[in-house]
């Protein structure tokens, strides 16, 4: 007989922010049809209202630590934090879009619905406790982005970026589900904590000699490929600069932070909760351990992520140097920033094995919590900073999409001193200079990586940060030390864009000066994950 859950058992209230947003968006699609074409600003206001309501609904669910919908969904500090990042990012994106869409002649009410669908996808991704939910969330966040990238349909570049993003995105999704299917085949479940328990095994140590292990390793590799594509990690980054350049700028801004937050939320969920203890090669040390002794071994996927992270940081930063279009430069810099966060994910893969008694071991991914905190705070800092940088780029962008070259920033400090000062601050935050939010994120990530013993990777990270200073500072130099050849008005510098820039600036500054604000929010994340698993 079927076991029918009651509505109380579904525990829907902890999933309320995501459910509210998804349902509201569905209704907004219809409401928008009845809003006259010259009053689309109403849709934007409704969108911001809904995001604010979702933000408020997120507060009680933040620390609930409860599962919903038959354990497919979980609301913990991790989920709450991801929700917070993406909702704030979406509000700034809406502020950026209002005037831009109007002046480039692509004002469609559907844009806001698509944006909200993507946002709810990212929110579900942050709360996913099951591979099926990860997959649906991945698609819910990607499919609207394909359309949004191609939104400027009179512009061939925009269409081209849409079709490229779509083809490669669909390709990556296929890899994700293939990997998920293999993980399901090896463990017999799609639930992430159950996958964890199946891998940990009965006596606390995994049997290495069976076919399930092969499925798991191939599955993990394919999941990393697919999500690596979503977060634009090298060597799966080919689409990024083209799509970022071709898509309308507010869409690019959202893509660079939202799709990244979603991809990393999925990667962290699968890696921290599902597969942290996937160790293939224990080495000889396990055989000769004395009772009570502790050793650390790398998990099967750590080396792969190590290499991807290093390649991403090096490639992204060095190619960004040679860019003359600031939009394209920010695209490569966004690749480089994915590398830093991947470093934190790699740090999760350091596993500690303790021999408790004869044939009884415990395995713990000890650095999961510090790595998770680092990755999430970095995402928060990056969201504010990058959206701010895009806001400034957008205010200089002309209606036909030109005006985003490096030289267009010449003498900005004289024409628009406040905007130039904020842009300089965003650039410093992207480098990771102290008192900016970017510094806190980098510090936490480097700290976690050093704890986890990834010293060479940390050195690569520090060196590439120094390299990145070159191309970020170049913008500051252009703004303050060079004189502009032309003094045309910045057409995009409208009140809404100014609000967006100021919100982003405030976020970057506040979290830079008071990092404990973010860390306190995350304080219980590690403990919650531990209670979830055991």
């Amino acid at each position: 007989m079927i076991d029918v859950p009651s509505f109380a058992e579904l525990n829907l209230e902890v999933a309320l922010p995501g459910i509210f947003l998804a349902l509201f968006t569905t209704v907004l699609l219809i409401v928008d049809l009845f809003i006259p074409k010259d009053r689309k600003i109403t849709t934007a206001h409704l969108t911001i209202g809904a995001l604010v309501v979702a933000f408020v609904l997120n507060l009680p669910a933040f620390n609930a630590g409860e599962t919903a919908m038959n354990e497919m969904f979980i609301a913990d500090a991790f989920a709450g934090f991801v929700n917070m990042i993406v909702i704030t990012g979406a509000i700034i994106t809406v502020l950026l879009s209002v005037d831009y869409m109007k002046r480039s002649g692509i004002e469609h009410g559907e844009f806001y619905s698509l944006l909200l669908f993507s946002v709810s996808g990212i929110m579900f991704m942050g709360s996913a406790n099951d591979l099926i939910v990860v997959f649906i969330a991945l698609e819910l966040l990607s499919i609207p982005l394909y359309v949004m990238a191609a939104l400027r349909h009179d512009d061939v570049k925009s269409e081209e970026s849409g079709i490229k993003y779509f083809i490669l995105g669909a390709f990556a999704s296929a890899f994700f589900v293939y990997g998920a299917a293999l993980i399901y085949g090896a463990t017999g479940t799609t639930n992430l904590p159950e996958i964890f328990r199946a891998i940990a095994g009965a006596d606390g140590i995994v049997a290495t000699e069976n076919s399930a292990m092969i499925y798991l390793v191939i599955g993990a590799a394919m999941v990393i490929v697919a999500l690596g594509f979503k977060v634009a990690a090298v060597p799966f980054h080919m689409w990024t600069p083209d799509v970022y350049e071709g898509a309308p700028t507010p869409v690019t801004a959202f893509m660079s932070v939202g799709a990244k937050a979603g991809g990393f939320a999925g990667l962290l969920r699968v890696m921290i909760i599902g597969l942290p203890l996937l160790v293939v090669n224990f080495g000889d040390a396990v055989e000769t351990m004395a009772i009570g002794e502790t050793i650390t071994v790398p998990s099967a996927w750590q080396t792969a992520l190590w290499l991807i992270a290093a390649a991403t940081m090096i490639f992204g930063n060095f190619i960004a140097i040679s860019q003359t279009n600031v939009k394209r430069m920010l695209a490569y810099s966004s690749i480089a920033h994915a590398g830093y966060i991947l470093m934190a994910v790699a740090a999760v893969g350091t596993v500690q094995i303790t021999k408790v008694a004869e044939n009884d071991y415990t395995m713990v991914a000890v650095y999961a919590e510090s790595a998770l905190n680092g990755a999430l705070v970095y995402l928060l800092a990056y969201t504010f900073t990058n959206l701010g940088a895009f806001a400034v780029v957008m205010s200089l962008e002309n209606n036909d999409g030109s005006g985003t070259m490096l030289d267009d920033f010449n003498g900005l400090s004289k024409r628009h001193p406040l905007t130039a000062a904020m842009m300089a601050f965003f650039m410093l935050s992207l480098i990771g200079v102290p008192t900016t939010a970017g510094f806190i994120g980098k510090f936490l990530i480097f700290d976690a990586a050093i704890q986890a013993g990834l010293i060479p990777l940390t050195i690569i990270g520090v060196l590439t940060s120094a390299v990145s200073a070159y191309y970020y500072v170049r913008i500051i130099v252009n703004m303050y030390l060079k004189d502009a050849a032309v003094t045309d008005e910045a057409v995009g510098l409208t009140p809404y864009v100014n609000y967006a820039t100021i919100v982003a600036f405030a976020g970057t500054l506040i979290f830079g000066l008071f990092p404990m604000l973010a860390l306190d929010l995350l304080a219980s994340s590690g403990a919650q994950i531990a209670t979830l698993l055991f």
Binding site: I2, V4, P5, S6, T26, V27, L29, I30, L33
Partner: protein, 119 residues
């Protein structure tokens, strides 16, 4: 491994393929052949053929095609629901009601946008 379980299927496959091949080719083998240019040209109701036979379809067909894919495939969720309809009872009804609501929103949207009008 019991491949012999598949023997009937294999035989059916062979027989049906063979029969089709025989029927298709029997007239070509026994019929008289006397081709001329007129006879081998494509049949266009007695007219001389003009231009290639494959013509571009209006984009309207693609639109209807895309809409059809969506609404056709979404119905896959009705199938498991129909199988366990009695067991799920009121709960299933509510959940499917929500699903139908979302589908209906899509329908209203495309209707209002004029995607369903042919002209």
């Amino acid at each position: 491994m019991a491949l012999e379980q598949f023997a009937p299927v294999g035989m059916l496959l062979l027989l049906s393929t063979g029969l089709v091949l025989i029927i298709l080719n029997i007239s070509a083998v026994f019929g008289p052949k006397n081709p001329t240019t007129r006879k081998t040209a494509p049949y266009e109701s007695g007219m001389k053929p003009i231009g290639p036979a494959v013509r571009r379809l209006p984009v309207k067909f693609y639109l209807i095609g895309v809409l059809f894919i969506l609404f056709d495939i979404e119905v896959i969720f009705f199938l498991p629901w129909a199988v366990v309809f009695r067991g799920l009872g009121f709960y299933g009804l509510i959940v499917m009601g929500l699903f139908v609501f979302i589908l209906t929103v899509g329908l209203i949207y495309e209707w209002k946008k004029g995607a369903l009008e042919w002209e």
